[in-house]
Symmetry: C2
Subunit: 556 residues, 2 copies
């Protein structure tokens, strides 16, 4: 049975993680049947996969060499090589020069010590508490992560950012392909002005007074109606209006999690979600994403042996990969959720930003058992400045979370709610949405063309059919961090893959956002990144050998 | 030394609270000096006060009778009577018919069990966690507390409230003196429309885009400048913009508190603050408020013997009493905070709503050591629907809390921040503020006149010099709950005193809000309450003896 571990126990566990797994202990985990019809390498990879996902093979532990394991199992070395290759391509194991093959770590520690000498004296002594840890964790993330959402301002009134990339972005002429925000010139300014002009006088109390914790009733009704159009069977009582998706993540996390509990996320996934869950003390289990979305086939071992509190997924136009979870996997995911009674938190900020004829349905549309908690926001569709998002969930969950919200937030700003509701009812709104979709589709196409023109063909890309992001696998062993440094010299920026990965991976990936930039910036930005890539590719020839020792290499 | 107690330990402690304190154990706590010049009753009350506030005399424990204690201490019974009388008037002890004299309880338990049969199955088993406790706590408060801020709506679109009073308020013709909100006809609708019309186009990204976690820089600067005008030495770096004061309370609570920690609050105090702190697992120590604000003289014993994490105070136009902390007590409070290194959380939603010539300064104006965290909001001054509040604090605290805010909220709505900032810079704003102050002053005077005309002279009131509330001591043994019931029959409502009291007191008090109601409603409302009072006073004559057994009576 799974038991909670305290911070110090976890610490101990972490320091022990480099323990070797002998060939015999691996053998004990496997039950090979030579006449089963399933190839032996498959049986081996399957057995080891389950052992890794269930924790029987600890993260960071060293696996036997191919030769040693082949000997003990009485199989060819090629069989083991194939099995390891499969596990490696799934992101479960990786090779380290000088250290052999290790089970990948999916948890990143948050037990850093921290003492700040500039604190008022009554703040001393708090450093060891949860809050100091959170502070440090968030601080580390801020340093690592290169996003637009963590800007701050100096006393001089000039914008400056905490992060290196932010700093570049604040300079003139820098092109940012990092920002996951709507295009400034598409912000519905006229719509907001019209709404305020036409209705504020009449709606003075609705728009400027207090409003219920659960959200303005009119807006809850409108959101429910719009969700029914997308196939989700909900009414106003199922809707909890939120001050942003982040608030929803926090409320659900506090509601479902105790520190030390486990949560399943996709690898890669939205970094803000990782941050919020880690701040609540959650241990995050990563399931890889491929071209059809989350590898739901890998999920069952986790659910069967561990007790994650919920499964966090972005099934539609996933952030950062842009992929859509396939219909078959959606069915399978819902089945698993039902069978193991683990709820799904569906995060769907981009679902309405589709570029093809068929509008995707939320996963929740197929949820007949109330196992999906659905989260979405108007920050991407209308304007981040309105700060209006929502949760669709069973009424009893809405009621419970509303109590939390009342105690820590009271309510979401009534003005934003009123404006959103008014906008959603105006004829101009559908036109506005169509324009938005066309514009983003056009920008994506521009970006793809520019990539074809200016980047080496060895970059691997799967063009998304909606959303705001393009996820790129860099050529060969090129590292995203190195490219970011070179790109900065060319006055262009983006987000590197690492912060989206709870397993420490993503070194060879970058995320480009095409929504917030102009046509000219897209072409110029891609061209500049292409120059940076070329420079790296040229440099890498002689440097290759020297750079290796500190890098992780693919297994085999 | 103080050590944290777990929930179950606390439970045990609570069930033991009716233990008697023998005269001998009291004697051991006292060191009487007959020739010291301090009267003996003073020495006794002083010794017992310190014992109560430091926890040496447990809450709820029974004190010896006057006769028994007098015998052991070799003093006159009158001496003990005087000492008990003093402690009783300070709210530290109270008499119960049939149970003697007890040390008042200042903690209210939150260990209620809770199981909800309508939950999805994956929610079972969570009932015992913190969240279920919070849920239950908040639910209990909602049932007990009669405020306007917890409204909810039914599927039928009709507003209904969770609370009895809310229900009355939703009916037509009911006059609510409960609502602590600005007057609807004074909401700055024109100002908002003008601001949006004149500037939204130019400020599209500032108003509708993402904004920094710490708040829009322009607004932070404006708020800092306005605070400097009120004598507080801060700049933009000291300002953290919040989505309401409640968020500030939650952030500070999470930052400074671990479950089981103690916090000092005033008795009575803002009930939302009690709710948020309790939800974080805080144990709340109450210090009585009199006509000059918090009894700071009683605070030192608490600070000397216990380790509260902070002192929560509303020094200016306190909610619910309306009192202003006297200059001398302000100095003393700051001294104690410095000496014992316990920070002060100053909550100041009403400071700018003064009715006299001299604008009160925040407590923080005299804070030379960065020990005051200052919290205020534009919900009362401008409009609740904007949901813009702020914290002024040492920069290091702002930075730490911003990390928390980022993880759980990301940022406050940019549109509201931009509107507030624009409004604060317009010439119309000062005029608007003057109108607001004059209007509320006028409404208060109307209310006082009506009280003189329609209420028995035995009601005790101290008219405030600012804010939104009038705090009333009902005649004799009249209970607020009984009056609320009678008043509901007359179609008028208000907030009873109990929820503002962490010590279980307040039975004979009610809070009237004069801001949100019209002149006519004020006069009619007071008249109706007067009728309800008369009915109760007439009923009480014969009932007196019967009603007693379940009531707490003043000591002696």
């Amino acid at each position: 049975m799974y038991t909670h571990k305290s911070g110090s126990e976890r610490q101990t566990q972490r320091t022990q993680q480099s323990v070797s797994q002998g060939s015999e202990s691996i053998q004990a985990l496997l039950h090979l049947e030579r006449n089963s019809g399933t190839p032996l390498y498959r049986q081996i990879s399957q057995g080891m996969r389950e052992a890794i996902l269930s924790g029987a093979l600890a993260e960071g532990s060293r696996l036997p060499t191919e030769r040693a394991l082949a000997q003990v199992l009485h199989v060819n070395r090629t069989t083991i090589m194939n099995a390891y290759h499969e596990l490696s391509s799934e992101g479960l194991i990786e090779g380290h020069v000088g250290r052999g093959t290790l089970v990948k770590r999916s948890y990143v520690g948050q037990d850093e010590d921290y003492v700040d000498q500039e604190m008022p004296s009554w703040l001393f002594g708090l450093a060891a508490g949860e809050d100091a840890v959170l502070g440090e964790d968030a601080r580390l993330l801020n340093e690592q992560v290169l996003t637009e959402e963590h800007a701050e301002y100096g006393e001089d009134g000039e914008q400056r950012n905490r992060t290196a990339v932010g700093k570049y972005a604040a300079q003139r002429a820098v092109i940012s392909l990092a920002q996951s925000t709507p295009a400034a010139d598409l912000l519905p300014v006229e719509l907001v002005r019209t709404v305020v002009d036409a209705g504020l006088d009449r709606a003075r109390e609705e728009a400027l007074g207090f409003c219920p914790v659960e959200g303005a009733h009119n807006l809850r009704r409108t959101i429910a109606a719009r969700m029914r159009q997308r196939g989700v069977n909900v009414d106003a009582r199922n809707i909890l209006v939120l001050s942003g998706s982040t608030q929803g993540l926090g409320l659900i996390g506090r509601f479902l999690l105790t520190s030390g509990d486990e949560v399943v996320v996709e690898v890669p996934t939205y970094l803000g979600a990782i941050q919020t869950m880690r701040a609540l003390g959650a241990r995050v289990i990563g399931i890889p994403v491929d071209r059809e979305g989350m590898r739901v086939d890998l999920l069952e071992s986790v659910l069967a042996r561990r007790q994650p509190r919920f499964i966090y997924t972005l099934p539609t136009f996933q952030n950062p990969t842009g992929v859509v979870l396939s219909p078959e996997r959606r069915r399978h995911l819902l089945q698993l959720s039902r069978r193991y009674q683990v709820p799904i938190l569906e995060d769907d900020p981009y679902g309405e930003l589709y570029f093809t004829a068929d509008a995707p349905q939320p996963l929740k549309a197929q949820d007949t058992h109330g196992n999906v908690l659905y989260l979405s926001t108007y920050s991407k569709l209308l304007a981040p400045g309105l700060r209006v998002a929502w949760l669709a969930a069973p009424e009893t969950v809405v009621e419970r979370l509303a109590l939390h919200k009342q105690v820590f937030d009271l309510n979401t700003n009534a003005l934003g709610q009123w404006i959103v509701n008014e906008m959603l009812h105006r004829d101009e709104f559908e036109l506005y949405l169509r324009t938005l979709r066309q514009s983003y589709k056009h920008k994506l196409e521009l970006m793809l063309t520019a990539i074809q023109n200016y980047w080496p063909a060895t970059v691997s890309i799967q063009p998304p059919t909606g959303g705001m992001h393009l996820w790129c696998r860099l050529p060969g062993t090129m590292r995203a961090r190195a490219l970011l440094r070179e790109a900065a010299r060319e006055q262009v920026t983006f987000v590197i893959g690492e912060p989206f990965h709870v397993d420490g991976g993503g070194h060879h990936y970058i995320r480009l956002s095409f929504a917030a930039v102009s046509d000219e910036e897209i072409t110029a930005g891609i061209q500049r990144i292409g120059i940076a890539m070329q420079r790296l590719l040229t440099q890498q020839q002689p440097d290759n050998g020297q750079a290796r020792p500190s890098e992780r290499l693919p297994v085999i």
